[in-house]
Amino acid sequence: MHDKPLFMTYSRGDVANFVVLMALAFAVVPLMIETDYWYSSILIPWLCLALAAIGQQFVMGYAGQLALGAAGFMAAGAFACYNIELRIPWMPFPLSLLFSGLIAAAFGVLFGLPSLRVRGIYLMVATLASQFFIIWMIDKFGWFKNYDSSGIITAQDIVIAGRSFTSPMEMYLVVAVVVTVLTILAVNMTRGSVGRNWMAVRDMDIAAESMGISLLRAKLQAFALSAFYCGVAGALFAFTYLKSLEPVAFDIKLSFQILFMVILGGLGTINGAFIGAGFILLFPVVLNTVGNAWFHGMIDATIISAIEQVVFGALIIVFLIYEPLGIAKLWENLKSRLFSRRPVAEAAAAKQEPAG
């Protein structure tokens, strides 16, 4: 049956998972991995995009609102952070991040308004506005880029309490701390009544309303928090991964990638955001390595990279057909098969069913 809470609302399993993950993130990884490549090309973008994917989870996986435009909110957060750092030099970096998130959240509420009237694919089209409007606004008004004409602005150094974090490993630690904190908050919210209200709206809005949930509040809250997470993720993405600010980096392709992360990872799960982000980010790298190792010299490199795209696309389709609930669900099934705890509960449920 269900685990009894060990600490606050966390079960024994939660605490164990948390300890293992923290040990991995803050002890094993920094001690074991020395090459900058791993930090700056894999771990940092993975964590940043996973954070944005959590934002996408809120609005799509939990609240069931088909929104597309996460990269727009990331751009808002990135440029907000740049401008805060630029114009208010005494502002501590964590606070800059917080305000960047809040500014993105304001955009989230604004672009979430269509969700009160339209749904499904139409909402997706309506939310694309955030993608195009925010990028357009940053390009149109020079103030946001501090009238820089080169098009690419270098991000400021991250300075926290007088110490600057410039090496890839240091930047990784900054990102890991922020992502850890925001993930814990996300888990708390999604397990608590915030997440339940969102899921109720997702599964049956009229019943949710009849239970006293205000659809307006629940939907706009999901959009605001989603944009907050995307905004912080965008700021981290620009400051630690890109190390520069350019609106092109936050184009529609990135929005789609975040959408795919959530779908592939598993809708309505927080770990799905991490799994999906890892999959979308690493899979092309794996395919590339495998392709080069097997077919090197035999086939033209351009054809290999084209085949990669085809395989990637095909896998996504196969995956969606056979496991629409995502990799997180596969993982859960595997776990329950290994430890065979869940089947007992389900057998009991089956027994309750009337025979006819």
Binding site: L185, G192, A200, M204, A207, S210, Q221, A348
Partner: protein, 265 residues
Amino acid sequence: MTQARNFPIGGPILEVENISLSFGGVKAITDTSFKVLMHEIRAIIGPNGAGKSSLLNCINGIYKPQQGRISFKGEVLDRISPNIVARKGISRTFQNLALFKRMSVIDNILVGRRLHMGANFLQIAFQTPAATREERENRERCEEIVEFLEIESIRDTPVGKLPYGLQKKVELGRALATEADMLLLDEPMAGMNVEEKREMCRFILKVNDELGTTMVLIEHDMGVVMDISDNVVVLDYGKIIADGPPEAVRTNQDVIDAYLGVAHD
């Protein structure tokens, strides 16, 4: 129903006055008035398409009648939406099940506690003592409901995987969790076998007896209606053709005609 009740039937709690509802040219409800008394079990019966569900949807705020007014506990329900009606103390179940299919049984019932949970998202995110206490207390309430409905073994199963009869039970559980003053039950026993129906009746009577919850239920099974309801409203073609205690309604000629059909001359 002859022995003394914990909550004797009182004055009107809900007053429906002259409401009319039409969809385009189709009249669903025409100039209908009736009163529901405090703590009673009131059945609404009538042939298919008589406007029973539309009537519940009007009370619940899903439909807005073009004419007339509805007042609950002396307060006119004006410019309403389902979530405002819920806040006034009316909860409901739906004819075709409106559960949160991908959520577990316990989570479905917990959503029913929505109006008893006031912590905002920041308190929940940071797990403040008030938020954790609130969560724990409401979970305990829901566990009691799970126990009451005897569905402990499925508490963590996603509702979408459950058979129909159990889903109906969960939906009743969710409505009970609201602790509303009045429950609107839209065919709570549809599609159930005799045994399941008997069980459901027991739950309804028990809740009414122990908590004094006023119940308005739509039901097709005449046996059930005659057994558990204090008063019956009969609707036909969007109009009330009879309103009174079950015995009186059963012998009413208009009701017999509506159900059995009669040659109109």
